[in-house]
Subunit: 356 residues, 2 copies
């Protein structure tokens, strides 16, 4: 890994002092950028974009060319793992991800194998290496994977759902079967994130997009337990550098204390809770990432500035805040609003980092 | 109002001792019941069912004929208010509610008027009277309305949305306009709930289905402030009997303390949080309603019993728990599972209500 010219993100994730609050945005490379849509068109479809390292590297870098962001995030998709298991991922236009062969019974789950990141997911680590070459140490690169439960939701349901009823029916009727799948997903995520770390990412994030749809009790048993296992299984260092781990459960505000005890370095927070309260609840040993309402990016630069400053104020003074949205950049976000956001965080945050 | 033969629900809402935990279910009259589908078919469509008092009364009573529930809830829809304002409510098959004339600008909002419950919404109070005649005081009848913000979501968006981006764009760009609409919705809800109380309901519930999609700060300003105004404006007694008020914000777990301070008697809790924690957080003066994961009703009677008992245990001993789901009965719930649930609550709850 080349030495980082800007390591503000890594320091903030480790709760070390920084001169300002670092900012990056979930889904910062995406459909709100015309240049992204160009590249995607050239790729033909979303999955080809993910699977072609040179194109994935290209779109990863696009938002950094526009905005002085403090991190890049690998362009990929959490569902590459079940795709590598043979479920047949495809994206129906305007309908989100789908699987040709969703898991519905014992036999289909029994037949699954942990993918080898060096074979079926080689394109992921190849993209990491291409991005690192192009980034040349300007800012850190974040790697990521989906949580075992979130992957299971899509694998069982076959696509997105508003209540995940097939998954939950399995949870309540055949918890043993769901646990078997979650154990397999856990090993797959550990292998993929380890490979990303070996290939050179500086931090990793686990996206638990659907853990928040579970009851408090089921969340701990079926989602957080496996996330905790991943955190404890990952290499925590590479070449003497600590590799921070971010855990984000959307809708997981009730569970912040428990998430903070998973062993992660930073807890992601969605926009539904006050960031100062989140900070108090996770305690003094874990950083906090978030949590501006993504739809603020549909307003105006003035409103974006005001709301960004409110988010900084909610967290308050001191280290340990990584500025982000509470979820991904929306498709209809205006690039000038993203520019205003990054600028506002950089301009307004130094006063929250005065020594003493 | 005839004297109630079973007033367990009212006592529990007021945190008075009861011999067991009362149970009713949101959307207990609905598509999971074959007799409901029969009546709906006879009505022709959902809206005609809502607007025909004899049919609304018929479906209100259907679940009580099957299960020994401790309350009936008026069969109606929260969107009858904007329909009465002239927005043209309709239900596209399988797509949920839609408005022919959604609100998108200042002019359309300026032209709105508070509906007169005795005229445009007469069918609602007529249904209340028909139901009360048929119920003859067996159990209490709950009236309801949507929260001003939840109504505004549908009125602005024109139908359901996964991010309510049109509504939130107005919130961030034209908060003045949204506040004007919310004030109008507040007066409309107060008028309709007051009319329901006059017509004989024993308790009322405010459904804030989409308040949980707001940031913590916006929730207080755009949803809870108006709910609080409704609570303080409603008659709290009828014929010397207290009329308890339940406030339910789905996804509002972060805000339970604030909701409990709205002046309501009971806070509804969705399935995402532990009910014992909810009880501690709302404090000693407010009852708690909830919060079994609705999708448990897709499992089996044995699992339903086990999960119902866990919910009772999570609340613990003492008065102030109204058993319910964390959201409505799902369309694919099995009636035998609903039967098992009501039975389990009645069988297992008395030990949580031992005197002393």
């Amino acid at each position: 890994m080349p030495k980082l010219q800007n390591d503000t993100l890594i320091r903030a994730l480790l709760r070390q002092p920084t001169p300002y609050t670092p900012v990056w945005l979930m889904r910062q490379a995406g459909r709100y950028l015309p240049e992204y849509n160009e590249t995607r068109k050239r790729a033909g479809d979303f999955l080809t974009l993910c699977k072609t390292p040179s194109l994935a590297a290209e779109v990863t870098l696009q938002p950094l060319a526009r905005f002085p962001l403090d991190a890049a995030i690998l362009f990929s998709d959490i569902l590459t793992i079940p795709d590598a298991m043979g479920l047949g991922l495809y994206f129906a236009e305007g309908e989100g991800p789908r699987f040709e062969r969703p898991l519905r019974d014992e036999t289909s789950i029994a037949g699954l194998q942990v993918p080898d990141p060096m074979r079926q997911l080689r394109y992921v680590t190849d993209a990491v290496r291409e991005i690192q070459l192009a980034l040349a140490g300007r800012v850190p690169l974040i790697g990521f994977a989906g949580s075992p439960y979130t992957l299971a939701c899509y694998m069982i349901e076959g696509g997105a759902s508003d209540d995940w009823r097939t998954t939950k029916t399995m949870l309540y009727r055949r918890p043993d079967l769901l646990h078997r799948l979650l154990a397999l997903n856990t090993r797959s995520v550990v292998d993929l994130l380890t490979a990303q770390i070996e290939a050179g990412v500086h931090a990793v994030m686990i996206f638990d997009t659907w853990g928040g749809s579970l009851s408090a009790r089921s969340y701990r048993e079926f989602s957080l337990a496996y996330i905790t296992e991943i955190v404890s299984s990952l290499p925590h260092e590479k070449d003497g550098q600590r590799i921070p781990i971010i855990v984000f459960t959307k809708g997981g505000g009730q569970q912040l204390e428990a998430i903070a005890q998973s062993g992660c370095d930073c807890v992601g927070v969605d926009w539904s809770m006050d960031l100062g309260e989140a900070r108090r609840r996770v305690g003094a040993h874990v950083a906090v990432q978030g949590n501006l309402d993504p739809l603020v990016l549909l307003s105006s630069p003035e409103v974006v500035r005001k709301e960004a400053i409110r988010t900084l104020e909610a967290f308050g003074a001191g280290p340990g805040h990584v500025f982000n949205l509470g979820h991904g950049v929306p498709q209809f976000a205006m690039p000038e609003n993203v520019a205003a956001l990054v600028d506002a965080v950089h301009q307004a945050s130094p006063k929250f980092h005065q020594p003493g």
